[in-house]
């Protein structure tokens, strides 16, 4: 068998910057989520005004640290749910028999060398449920898809659905010190604590923060 052709200069340059494949371009139907714009603008502002390692107030910028999220990392990914298209339309359910949703996140772009430091699940619910609310609030359950009853890895109480619901999956859906799985499939349920109409999931996404030590010089450089 022939050895693969060596990458051209442009591809070699992209590989050095952490892109194993040449990016093909922006998808047509994917807007940039506001949280990513926010994170970019805050970082860009700090870097542009501060100069190396300095914030406008003179504090030192910590290298390889996402200040806004309070965790170590140099890569933040907004991963959309791939399971929405396969979900059947939700029937109007009676209280106590609310539907389960399977969400699927493709994490194949995460390289094995990257160490996850935050995996924040973000859920948005349809407006009617979001504004109505229930007296006792809601309970979110997260389990690996296909797992039997009792395999819930995360339970979280949710006072109201007006704001996006966030849940930390690192340490729950996969071990804190392990690499990210290539594909994450989860079953979610959102049950009202008091009799009420079921919630209807509008959108799910994952905000994944990782640290690639190869691109983090203070970690990569050995001490002499």
């Amino acid at each position: 068998a022939r050895a693969p052709a060596p990458p051209g200069p442009a591809a070699a340059l992209l590989q050095a910057l952490g892109f194993p494949d040449v990016p093909r371009g922006a998808p047509k139907s994917r807007p940039v989520p506001p949280v990513m714009w926010r994170l970019f603008r805050r970082r860009d502002h700090q870097e542009a005004r501060a100069g190396p390692r300095r914030t406008p107030l003179g504090a030192t910028l910590r290298p390889c640290h996402v200040e806004e999220l309070g965790v170590a990392g140099n890569i933040v990914r907004h991963v959309p749910d791939r399971g929405a298209a396969a979900r059947p339309p939700e029937p109007a359910s009676a209280a106590g028999q609310c539907p389960e949703w399977t969400v699927v996140f493709d994490l194949s772009a995460v390289e094995p060398a990257e160490r996850p430091s935050q995996a924040r699940l973000e859920l948005r619910f349809a407006a009617a449920e979001a504004t109505a609310g229930t007296a006792g609030g809601w309970e979110l359950s997260v389990a690996p898809a296909g797992a039997g009853p009792g395999q819930v890895v995360l339970r979280q109480s949710v006072p109201a659905l007006g704001m996006p619901v966030r849940a930390e999956l690192l340490g729950a859906a996969w071990a804190r010190n392990a690499s990210a799985p290539r594909r994450l499939r989860l079953t979610l349920t959102m049950r009202p604590r008091a009799p009420a109409a079921c919630a209807s999931l509008a959108e799910a996404s994952l905000l994944l923060v990782t640290l690639d030590p190869r691109l983090c010089h203070p970690l990569a450089r050995p001490r002499r």
Partner: protein
């Protein structure tokens, strides 16, 4: 978009000069969301004496560079030549882009902007 070197060659003392990297120019604009480009700068200039001793407040030259410049001043035909004018202090930028899985990614890159040059 680069500041031309003094006199069309590597003249003048070693210092940072303006270089704007446009992602459109390098063909990355279809997947880089922001920024559209950044001021990367570059280093150019002579590192002969006295420039190799650095200006007050500037980046100090390496001792090796000072001795090399001295050697060059004493014997200009020495094969080693003058020290090099290279980045001495750099700062990071963050880039927002789409990857091949249609994820929106914010990535932090160290050492992308030349803030100061020095003789090394």
């Amino acid at each position: 978009e680069a500041e031309p070197a003094v006199g069309g060659g590597p003249g003048g003392a070693c210092r940072a000069r303006r270089l704007y990297v446009s992602f459109r120019e390098v063909g990355w604009h279809r997947w880089v969301i922001a920024p559209r480009g950044f001021l990367a700068n570059y280093c150019q200039g002579k590192c002969g004496l006295p420039a190799a001793l650095s200006e007050p407040g500037g980046t100090p030259a390496l001792n090796h560079a000072v001795l090399r410049a001295l050697m060059h001043a004493a014997a200009p035909s020495a094969a080693a030549g003058l020290p090099c004018c290279v980045p001495a202090r750099l700062s990071p930028i963050s880039v927002l882009f789409f990857d091949n899985s249609d994820n929106v990614v914010l990535r932090h890159y160290e050492d992308m902007v030349v803030d100061e040059c020095g003789c090394r």
